[in-house]
């Protein structure tokens, strides 16, 4: 396969993210695919801090900071006003974390998608409130330790399943929906290029491992992101105008391979890991059914 990652960089070095931050890779690849004529909006999140203190910025495009709940609404206004100005060629991008998307920003996201603005909403999913110091979000997976789901004597680690916002967006029939991974940059960039062909709202959820939040060594970011796909914990799919395509790795690895190198899952028993495996298998079957066109309930 020829090298397909654009060489242009719109994210510069000198940002303030942690070593091994998955969210920085997500932004870097997204921007390579978006190009120069792009406006990015970020809510409260790690990415509100990563570009650096005023007057510095790590991005080469207009970068708008907005309050936590308002990414979907802010990009709606930017998009429609740029159209009024004859600037239809600008890419209008919301770039929000899982808390800002699955929790406090869900209403504004859902409404922006429903109104049909020609915007990109990128959810960089590090599966907890990382900027405030690792508190659970509704996108935190079953079994994870966070500071608000401590293991403790009563083992109150997160007992609820991950809310998958990309699935919700498909249920809402958003014209373009995809999941992507920083371990598969060519796939990620290809998906944004596909999304660009769709006139209307686009939603892409990118798994972005977080070394301090998931408790792993920073050199393992890409490896963990890859394992998430290879174990089918985080399946990669694309949904274009109602047509669903699942990336199928022929030889899936057991979920244990993904869980065992992250401290946040270190407390799990064999039975609990087995439960996660069963859930992953069940979801995989559902996704296969969806691809076959069977009704998903």
């Amino acid at each position: 396969m020829p090298f397909s990652i654009p060489k242009e960089e719109y994210m510069m070095s000198g940002h303030t993210a942690c070593a091994g931050c998955g969210a920085t890779l997500a932004m870097r690849y997204v921007m390579k695919a978006m190009g120069e004529k792009t406006v990015v909006t970020v809510p409260a999140s790690c990415w509100a801090v990563i570009p650096g203190n005023y007057p510095n910025t790590a991005l080469k495009v207009p970068f708008i900071y907005t309050p936590f709940a308002s990414t979907g609404a802010t990009i709606s206004g930017i998009r429609e006003a740029l159209n009024e100005e004859g600037k239809e060629d600008y890419n209008v991008v919301g770039f929000a974390g899982d808390g800002g998307t699955a929790d406090i920003g869900l209403q504004a996201l859902s409404a922006a998608m429903e109104r049909g603005h020609n915007v990109f909403y990128i959810m960089y999913d590090n599966e907890a409130y990382m900027n405030t110091g690792i508190q659970r979000s509704s996108s935190t997976p079953y079994g994870a330790w966070t500071t608000t789901t401590p293991v403790g004597k009563d083992r109150v680690y997160k007992k609820e399943n991950k809310k998958v916002v990309a699935d919700m967006m498909m249920a809402q029939k958003v014209p373009y929906v995809a999941t992507a991974s920083i371990a598969f940059p060519e796939d990620l960039i290809k998906k944004i290029q596909n999304a660009k062909k769709v006139k209307g709202p686009k939603f892409i959820q990118i798994l972005s491992p977080c070394p301090p939040g998931w408790y792993f060594n920073s050199e393992n970011t890409v490896k963990i992101a890859r394992l998430a796909v290879e174990t089918r914990i985080f399946p990669l799919y694309e949904y274009i105008e109602g047509k669903f395509t699942l990336y199928k790795n022929p030889n899936p690895l057991p979920v244990e391979k993904y869980l065992e190198i992250q401290g946040r899952f270190g407390h799990l028993s064999t039975e609990e890991i087995q439960k996660i495996q069963e859930n992953v298998n069940k979801r995989w079957e559902e996704l296969l059914d969806r691809e076959k066109g069977k009704v998903i309930t």
């Binding site: 120069e36 004529k37 792009t38 406006v39 909006t41 509100a48 801090v49 570009p51 650096g52 203190n53 005023y54 007057p55 510095n56 910025t57 991005l59 080469k60 495009v61 207009p62 970068f63 708008i64 900071y65 907005t66 309050p67 709940a69 308002s70 979907g72 609404a73 802010t74 990009i75 709606s76 206004g77 930017i78 998009r79 429609e80 006003a81 740029l82 159209n83 009024e84 100005e85 600037k87 600008y90 209403q107 504004a108 859902s110 409404a111 109104r115």
Partner: protein
């Protein structure tokens, strides 16, 4: 004054506001329904749908999103508008602060309505008094003509290059919003010339990328930016006097400006009011004058920035005055009273009473104003609630 169409029509306050947004060349409107504001955006949606207004209108899913979306559109350099009331204003509180800090000259029309519980959809000023410290300028109108004119003047003031702050313009629920009065419709071409195009110096441009609201630590210019906001806002009092003069000359109008003094010249006693109850107060002032009592009324139109020097100039020489607060706030006294008293502190020593009246749409009647004047002429002070007690 120049030749232009003089065009009168009978319309509600809400219709006057909607029409004013068209005259002002608003190009993006985003709003969420709430009584008694809804008729404004219904009218705008209708004008847009029938190509009578060249703008994009979207109905969003909340007031928080209404304010966030006009933030986005204004940043893109497009003159933007929203409207709301009551709980809607409270729901967008976070975004109000953000928009002001972003220095975006957005205009919001507010139909003042009380805050629950209990549910109550009628007029008082609690909804916007709660927002007086958000960095927004505030203009309170008395008539449907002012509902129209404050939109035009509001954009002119907000977009002034030395100010660049958002402004909310107020009218009272139902008394103005749903009641018809004759309104002179300002000439659209002249309004456009008066306002010019929005020229936001930092609008979104990929040839000039920048961060809008980047992180600023304590040794960054955070405090300097806050000081600049305050200074810019307080420069708006003088600007508003100039803009009002320009407006009145251009349209042969008699908009009062930041404050209106009514029979204040030789007054011994006066009331200070905001909004539509001022009309009743003026009627009472006239009656009392006919009885030989030297009374007057000072109406505040521009409440933020608070026109303290103008207020002092009108109060100087009085023997007593009363401030009417039509809002429930929980400081030691009402908001307007505290602003007046802190403005005159150390400069004037005049006995003053704080009247609380008209909450939740309760009528402020002729006899209520008569009672207020009687009390200040008797030298009463402190907080006095008017027309309370379940009957």
């Amino acid at each position: 004054m120049r030749n232009m169409n003089k065009n009168w029509n009978i319309m509600t306050g809400n219709e006057a506001v909607a029409l004013a947004t068209k005259l002002a060349g608003v190009r993006f409107v985003s709003a969420y329904p709430i009584t008694p504001q809804t008729a404004i955006v219904e009218k705008i949606a209708e004008m847009v749908a029938n190509e009578k207004m060249d703008a994009k209108f979207i109905e969003v899913e909340s007031e928080h999103s209404a304010m966030a979306s006009v933030m986005g559109s204004e940043l893109a350099g497009v003159r933007s508008f929203t409207a709301s009331s009551s709980h809607g204003i409270l729901y967008m509180h976070e975004m109000l602060n953000w928009v002001a800090g972003m220095r975006l000259p957005i205009l919001m029309a507010v139909v003042n309505r009380s805050i629950g519980p209990p549910w109550n959809i009628w007029a008082d000023h609690s909804d916007t008094m709660i927002q007086r410290d958000t960095g927004w300028m505030q203009l309170y109108g008395e008539s449907n003509q002012e509902a129209m004119d404050t939109i035009i003047l509001g954009y002119k003031l907000a977009e002034h290059k030395d100010i660049l702050l958002p402004i909310m313009v107020m009218q009272d629920a139902f008394t103005l919003s749903h009641t018809s009065e004759p309104v002179e419709i300002r000439d659209e071409m002249v309004v456009r010339e008066f306002l010019g195009d929005l020229n936001l110096p930092f609008k979104i441009d990929t040839n000039r990328p920048m961060g809008y609201g980047s992180l600023m630590p304590p040794d960054g210019p955070f405090m300097e930016l806050k000081m600049d906001m305050k200074k810019s806002m307080y420069s708006a009092v003088d600007r508003f006097v100039e803009i009002t003069k320009e407006f009145n000359d251009l349209f042969d109008a008699n908009f009062p400006g930041p404050v209106e003094g009514f029979m204040m010249e030789d007054a011994d006693y006066a009331l200070i009011t905001l909004g539509s109850i001022s009309s009743t107060a003026k009627y009472v002032v006239r009656n009392l004058r006919n009885q030989g009592k030297k009374v007057g009324l000072l109406r505040i139109l521009l409440y933020r920035p608070f026109p303290k020097d103008l207020v002092i100039s009108y109060l100087r020489g009085l023997k007593g005055f009363g401030v009417v607060d039509r809002s429930s706030t929980y400081g030691p006294y009402g908001s307007l009273y505290m602003d007046v008293i802190s403005s005159i502190y150390g400069k004037l020593e005049i006995p003053a009473a704080n009247f609380v009246a008209g909450l939740g749409g309760r009528d402020v009647r002729v006899k209520d104003f008569e009672e207020m004047f009687t009390k200040i002429m008797e030298g009463e002070e402190g907080e006095i609630w008017i027309n309370v007690g379940v009957k």
